[in-house]
Subunit: 82 residues, 2 copies
């Protein structure tokens, strides 16, 4: 089963990488870009019998390693129904 | 207008960051995770009169700065219809 995990900084947490990209865009002439925030897109392939089992595993992986719950939020999207 | 840009490594391009995360997951006991690939999730806020104008701007920004077209692909998703 294939999951896409989106990890984002929580609102209010400073994003220096996003700020740097925004400034670079402004220097390139893209002045209409008002804000940039950068997160991670993690694509996981999981071997599991059921969707529930896979979901539990990916949730745990997010909490233990993939996201930092102090400053980040995540959501999990399943790509195929197999 | 708000766009989410997903930037992924093209298939076949080695992803050492993904490999490192996969090994870390295995060490934590998540042996069912068969593959991990890591991309970027870029959230942009764009000031534009029309969706077409915003779309053209974000496409250009992707090609010039946000993605490396040699090794990465990207797709743009619009979050609200305003």
């Amino acid at each position: 089963m294939k999951a896409h995990v989106h990890v984002r900084l929580k609102p209010g947490i400073l994003d220096p990488q996003g700020k740097a990209v925004q400034q670079a865009l402004h220097h390139l002439g893209f002045r209409a870009v008002e804000s940039v925030r950068i997160g991670k897109l993690i694509e996981l392939e999981v071997a599991a019998e059921t969707r529930e089992e896979a979901e539990a595993l990916v949730q745990q992986a997010c909490q233990k390693l993939l996201a930092n719950p102090v400053i980040e939020t995540y959501d999990i999207e399943w790509v195929d129904a197999s």
